[in-house]
Amino acid sequence: MVGASAAGLAAAETLRREGYEGTLTLIGDEPYHPYDRPPLSKQILGGQWDPDRVPLRAPADLDALGLDLRLGVAATGLDLADRTVALADGARVPYDGLVIATGVRPRRLPGDGGERAHVLRTLDDALALRDRLGPGRRLAVVGAGFLGAEAAAVARGLGAEVTLLEPAPVPLAPAVGERVGRMLARAHHDHGVDLRTGVAVAEVTDGGVRLTDGTLVEADEVLVAIGSVPNTGWLEGSGLTLGDGLECDEYSAAAPGVYGAGDVARWHNPLFGTAMRIEHRTNATEQGMAVARSLLRPDERRPFAPVPYFWSDQYDFRIQAHGYLRGHEEVAVVEGALEERKFLAVYRSGDRVAGVLAVGMPPKAVRTWRQAVATRAAWRDAVGELVPEGT
């Protein structure tokens, strides 16, 4: 397993649990035992949790797996013919089966903001930003996606003055639709965040953030949260197909005996009939488990066809979504009301239910709609007439 986060760990655990007794090497470029990333922009940034709460497994449970752990060392190359992975410390690790789970890294902006410029992907990133936030500190967040929005909410909770800069007119519209996006924008305003949409950012400077029209948004700290880039550089020249991530088939295989899992892997999800690369916590685990089973029992392998799931905590509400919302053609609020921040919205692609997003709704209702996604229920049966977005 190359990548010692959620996907790599899930693959290792599944291999052991289901009978593999050979050598299992888990390689990670960070020096830490596998840890959980969602709390970084929530409880860790907010200071409610100490770093000792983020490891994914207790030390004893990790020891019990009997891993050859190679932490703090990056993979630098892959030789498919020779079946070896080259590491930054000069070691070459042979394999019979390979799981590529090297994740993503934050996209950055030009400019030299020095210590005030932050990204948020690793535990070290989160602790560095946490230590510099507090009452009266001015934080500029570039990008009002889920990560930027969560960080803005936490920073407000810590008493910081927050400016949230978003290039699109409505935050997260491609992901959740315009109406839900506008509801999220209102939440930022209600909590005292200076949300500025439709602004183009040029660079991080030593005074804050410079917009392309020359305006300087002054800030003590700048968090750049403008998306991620798959970590595939070490695979260049290996013969594997690289595009937006590691290109995999419906089994999540990139080559015979070589699988991709987690944020780095783009694969064809037959449930939705489309290729996707999912940067969600649960997908990392599910894909890691699935590829481990395909390695163990290649004759019984099945396409990887999950219903993606994510959640996001913002201020006093939690967003939960099941399905594949991107590219949706219609959104219908079927329960509750957006303005009360208690609602359940369903998403249509083609003539099928593609996703459900809920805030503050009873779990049974959410699970019922998730089932409609999992069975790709006909929209006409589940919701009603088709009304394209924007009409």
Binding site: A10, G22, L296, W311, Q320, P362, P363, V366, R370
Partner: protein, 83 residues
């Protein structure tokens, strides 16, 4: 790669293995994944979806589902102790 024959559910425990389930409620993020996999062992609170442990010592036929729930839990809030 070598592996077991696989019984399709990832179990393989012998008879008489006891399982104890622990949930770290403050860590729970209310995803409901555990309820979908093992509805006889886990439920969710109606008001906020937080996990409710229904069966701390589930019978052996549910062990595979409980282990799956623990691995899939997005908050790593379920711990399984087997003896």
């Amino acid at each position: 790669m070598s592996g077991d024959k696989g019984d399709g559910d990832g179990s393989g425990e012998g008879k008489g293995v006891t399982m104890r389930v622990e949930v770290d409620v403050p860590k729970c993020v209310a995803s409901g994944q555990c309820v979908m996999i093992a509805p006889d062992v886990f439920d969710q609170r109606e008001e906020d979806g937080i996990v409710v442990l229904l069966d701390e010592r589930p019978p052996s036929e549910l062990h595979a589902d409980v282990r799956e729930s623990a691995v899939v839990c997005p908050a790593a809030a379920i711990r399984v102790v087997e003896k």
